[in-house]
């Protein structure tokens, strides 16, 4: 399982030769450093910790800074773990760049979706709302009935209602890599990815590829 950290930059489009349009998201991916290696014996699971985006030393806390400095690594804003099967193939301080991905490969992209605040049911769950005419008032974005009467005498659990929306971890699976530029550390994937511009994203090799699914059948 290979992966890299990056920053969402924005979207654009690419035309294929036959005129088809491919929507793409541009990501500044890496360069990342391997900052720690977690092994079965020591930590109970196998993973590598990746660090991304150099910052000024004063933006980190003392423990964060020393964790990096003891391995002669620069101060890094983000540290994230990625589970791997072969932690022994990595070494602390190793640089990981976008060149681990090839054009045409499938990846999963994880990010933190934009926060929508306290959102109503129309936005949050796609309800249709109520009628706008025929003598209605205050019903346009209303949720409608939330249950029966005295029997059962309560609202069933899990009913979709208004509430906090967004600002949660979201993964989009099986996005095609359209472009890789190791010089400029750029990566473009087909389609949209979660989060605002400049927000952190984790790009990993796709877990559920077409080939894997076939093997199960």
């Amino acid at each position: 399982m290979k992966g890299i950290l990056g920053k969402k930059l924005g979207m654009t489009r690419i035309f294929k030769e036959n005129g088809e349009v491919v929507p793409v998201t541009v990501i500044q991916a890496g360069p990342c450093f391997v900052t720690q290696i977690k092994t079965e014996e020591k930590d109970g699971y196998k993973a590598i910790q990746l660090g991304f985006e150099e910052v000024k030393p004063k933006s980190l806390t003392r423990p964060e800074l020393m964790h990096l400095r003891k391995n002669n690594l620069p101060p890094l804003r983000y540290l994230k773990e990625i589970r791997v099967d072969n932690p022994e193939d990595y070494e602390v301080g190793q640089k990981i760049t976008v060149s681990i991905f090839d054009v045409g490969e499938k990846v999963d992209v994880t990010g933190w979706s934009k926060g929508r605040g306290f959102a109503g049911v129309v936005k949050r769950w796609g309800f249709s709302g109520g009628p706008r005419t025929h003598g209605q008032s205050d019903r346009v974005r209303a949720p409608g009935s939330i249950g029966a009467g005295t029997d059962p005498g309560r609202v069933i659990k899990g009913l979709r209602m208004a509430g906090r929306m967004g600002n949660e971890r979201v993964t989009v699976q099986n996005l095609e890599v359209v472009y890789v530029d190791p010089q400029r550390n750029l990566l473009a994937v087909k389609g949209a990815i979660p989060g605002a511009r400049n927000s952190l994203v984790i790009i990993k090799q796709a877990r559920k590829t077409e080939e894997k699914r076939k093997r199960y059948e």
Binding site: T12, V26, R184, R197
Partner: protein, 118 residues
């Protein structure tokens, strides 16, 4: 590296557009390639450019022409589309606005545009 440069770098993947520098008011002939099943053919759409929109890979232009029975037809072309084979500028007109939507309400003699003197 800033965001604009990064996005431009990716847009470099697009082929160079075969569209010359257009202005609103230009009368153009757009040679547009179609694929019907496995056959390809080129259709020519002639009309007035009434709008240029957007920047980068998403930029488009709108061409308006009066088809048979005086029905106005507008087509929107993406500037970077590889299906545009060629755009010929037939004539350029002097216009005083960027979007010529007012032409939609005019027909016949009133919808003429004054030619630009170079």
């Amino acid at each position: 590296m800033n965001v604009q440069e990064a996005i431009k770098a990716v847009e470099q993947l697009n082929p160079q557009p075969s569209v010359p520098e257009l202005r609103p008011g230009d009368t153009v002939r757009v040679h547009y390639k179609f694929t019907e099943g496995d056959k390809e053919r080129v259709q020519v759409f002639e009309g007035v450019v009434i709008r240029l929109r957007g920047t980068g890979a998403g930029a488009t232009f709108t061409v308006r022409r009066i088809a048979s029975h005086g029905i106005g037809v507008e087509r929107i072309f993406p500037i970077h589309s590889p299906n545009i084979q060629k755009v010929e500028i037939v004539r350029r007109a002097k216009v005083r606005r960027a979007k010529l939507y007012y032409l939609r309400n005019l027909y016949g003699k009133a919808a003429r545009l004054k030619e630009k003197r170079e």
